[in-house]
């Protein structure tokens, strides 16, 4: 049952978070106000926490705005020709120190809870290794005979109906829905960051070190993200597409993929983007 307070939060978030649009929530939509939809336990927790934060920060801002408006109306020269001389009010000063501390405590407790939740490593059902390159991602499935493939952006001309520009890749990362997946992050050159907002994942791929996080995609679907650490000329052009399939579909895909990518060797990457590097004409937008 929704308590009154929760209901208040809910309606406020609906207002600022654009709940009416949740139908297309697997990616952002035009004129969106808030987060993309939440499709993993992490993202759900973060959304819930953000709802609390939104209420608090909007209240604080409106409170300050209200005070300012009141002061401007009430204490302008016309309304109050003789200024007071008050410069101290101990009780007031204690209050405006103590109340923010209390608000921070209200924020901090759920914040730490979310933080430690995200850091838990659930016993993973499978592992995917993600390697950032200038300027594409490659995905390795160590559990499946080290199957490896690269994931490049698809040029505007080659997009099929319904594929979003700048988010579509040739080979998406495919995972089973509903399973805990360990994500290992590495980089072949500079620092990249692998981010999928609707799954609540963002972790840097740092050269010389392996990073680990986890994700569980709640339901089958296609989810999008982009590189989130400046990594050079084509930083804006190494998107992330992740497809979550039902267990049966995933098994079928895996058989096919292991055949298709059998000859891929992660030592010999085709550098097909090298020739396009930095040339604007390749990425011509929708404006022409």
């Amino acid at each position: 049952m929704l308590s009154k307070f929760n209901w208040f939060i809910f309606s406020l978030v609906a207002l600022v978070g654009g709940l009416p649009f949740q139908a297309h929530a697997q990616m952002a939509h035009p004129w969106q106000f808030g987060f993309q939809g939440a499709f993993s336990p992490s993202a759900e927790k973060l959304h819930e926490f953000h709802s609390l934060l939104t209420v608090i920060i909007i209240s604080i801002t409106l409170f300050v705005l209200g005070l300012l408006i009141y002061v401007v109306l009430k204490f302008n020269r016309k309304a109050n020709p003789v200024p007071s001389k008050t410069t101290h009010h101990t009780l007031l000063e204690v209050v405006w120190t103590a109340v923010p501390v209390l608000i921070l405590v209200v924020i901090t407790i759920p914040s730490l809870r979310v933080l430690y939740f995200l850091d838990r490593v659930e016993d993973a059902d499978m592992t995917v290794k993600i390697v950032g390159h200038q300027w594409y991602w490659s995905y390795e499935y160590p559990d499946n005979d080290d199957m490896t493939f690269d994931s490049y952006i698809v040029d505007k001309e080659d997009l099929e109906e319904g594929q979003p520009r700048l988010l579509t890749v040739d080979n998406a990362l495919v995972v089973p829905a509903g399973k805990n997946i360990r994500l290992l992050m590495a980089s072949g050159d500079v620092i990249h960051s692998w981010a999928v907002p609707s799954l609540g994942v963002k972790l840097d791929a740092v050269p010389g070190r392996l990073n680990e996080t986890w994700v569980k995609v709640n339901e089958p679907g296609t989810y999008y993200g982009q590189c989130s650490e400046l990594c050079g000329v084509n930083h804006g052009f190494m998107p992330i597409t992740i497809k979550a399939l039902s267990e049966d579909d995933y098994a079928a895909w895996l058989l096919e993929a292991m055949e298709e990518f059998a000859n891929n060797d992660n030592d010999n990457k085709p550098l097909k983007i090298a020739s396009l590097q930095g040339k604007a004409s390749v990425w011509e937008g929708s404006n022409e």
Partner: protein
Amino acid sequence: MSNTTQSKRNRTIGLAVVGIVFSMVALAYASVPLYRIFCQVTGYGGTPQITESGPTTAMSQRKIKVRFNADVNSSLDWKFKPYEHEMEVHLGETALATYSAENDGKETVTGTAIFNVTPLKAAPYFNKVECFCFSEQTLAAGETADMPVSFFVDPEILEDPNTQEVRTITLSYTFYRAKSDS
């Protein structure tokens, strides 16, 4: 206050602040070795512990999975793989894993491996007894070498509230071309 005493005091204070500036520069440089030592001692940033001897505590009945990850930087034309992707070991049991490296290039090259452990928080409990990463490795063209690493996981990993739920640890090596060789 006369002008001369004032400028004298000015100089004293000015010089004191210059002292602060230089000590901060020194601190920046000192941070380099300090950061390294800090990582090694505390396991910060996923740096595993390195010990001369084996485990000091008794072997536990609990088991943990250790996975092995291998990467080669593009500056090196090598193949580098673990023989086994993962193994299950008892906590406190010293185990041996082997990687193999092959020089696919046409010349003799020296590589150096850097390593870390994930999840990062498990690093303080992951101890390496002996491993190839301590020294640079030189491989002639076409040469293959086996690289063993022996390690154990400290049973204290179960005591730490942050690491209690860890059932799998990944040990990762990345081979770079050694700086001395480029």
